[in-house]
Symmetry: C2
Subunit: 264 residues, 2 copies
Amino acid sequence: MRDTIIVNFSYGGIAMNETIETLLGHRSIRSFTDQPLTDKQIEVIVRSAQTASTSSFIQAYSIIGITNPSTKETLAELAGNQPYVKDNGHFFVFCADLYRHEQAGAYENTDVYESIESTEKFLVSAIDASLAAQNAAVAAESLGLGLCYIGGLRNNIEKVSKILDLPAYVVPLFGMCIGYPAKQPEPKPRLPFENIYHKETYNKDTKELTRSFEAYNDVISKYYYRRTKGKRDDRWTEQIANMLKEPKRLHMKPFLENKGFIKY
Amino acid sequence: MRDTIIVNFSYGGIAMNETIETLLGHRSIRSFTDQPLTDKQIEVIVRSAQTASTSSFIQAYSIIGITNPSTKETLAELAGNQPYVKDNGHFFVFCADLYRHEQAGAYENTDVYESIESTEKFLVSAIDASLAAQNAAVAAESLGLGLCYIGGLRNNIEKVSKILDLPAYVVPLFGMCIGYPAKQPEPKPRLPFENIYHKETYNKDTKELTRSFEAYNDVISKYYYRRTKGKRDDRWTEQIANMLKEPKRLHMKPFLENKGFIKY
């Protein structure tokens, strides 16, 4: 069942283990067989999500599992016609969730609104949901499954919220398709280690950054060329500049404000 | 080196593996031996963080590693006098980072400001940083290390940003202490599975929620009683209501706005 790991770093002095191999071997999967996840697999994945760290034990997220084909089809369209949102082993939606905390406040006769409507607590709930999601992702990959995150749900966040019947103080952040991989693409090379990891203080040296852009652009350009058999060879900075030149999802601010979030 | 896993669920039909055991066996560690992490351990942890999924390949985060004892002491104080921020094997700060993207825009002669100043892109960078952080956490635990997240850095986020010399469009979200555990507390029981996982649509039934609060309060109350030898027996809803009755870190909104984030 377990996928063959093609990445095999060797780190002197550290005995590599199955978990590190799973983490380093990650690639997003966007093509799945039609085999659905079993209830037990779903349970293991969700329980693994639940054991992730959570800020002050707040557990400010929920996970919605979708199997209904017509719901999946609608979500696939709303996410920008991404067919793998429909065709996968199971579709999960990860939500920032402070509804339960509103209810816990009511249960304890305590006014908690200023708190749950603060930017800080929205941030906490988004971080909580993300930590849980990444545990789910790692659990799935360790079981030989593949996955991809679906940020595209935020394209139509209002409609998605209605379909999932979300109450106040719950925001769908992203989806996750999980299933048995039908294709295994090559892992995508990340930014140079030195770019992401800074020692003691942030390295602001723009000349160094430019040099690493050049080196990395070359790596990414070759990666796309290889993967598309010569059809694409975008540089990373080109891809980023193209993506960012037109701002997207500017409805997110008013949506969050209308939901009662980021008020204070 | 590997920690003994005290949780040992058995899921019919699923062959459990080392990774799931690591995930389910998680507990936060707040007491470490004085053994520092090796450079190789740091590298494996950061490289594992880097392979996490990232929204449209944006990689919008940075990780700062702190070893300087006086910096760690200052950060420990700023985080609300948390001694384990100083006393650990290594201290990491995870930042939402769109500075690199501002620079990539400049490199490609493209105006990206409306995009990187949008609420959407701040959210993307916070999610990216969190997914990377959770991979780092899982990698560390698989190596027999323990960890805890430090949201307390946001208590004094302006000062923390200065100490780390962060440029525009970089926000320290949380820290992570990693090291060899000096104590191994019992894992903290999470909310009932049914509370976190919803099928097809969100379950808003408040009576059901109240019943699960009651059952869970009992579990948590007993957990604290056991762990503190009878000194504490807080219910979960009580803990949440007490935490939320006084809003915290209301400086986060103006801080993010001053940093140029959540503008659109």
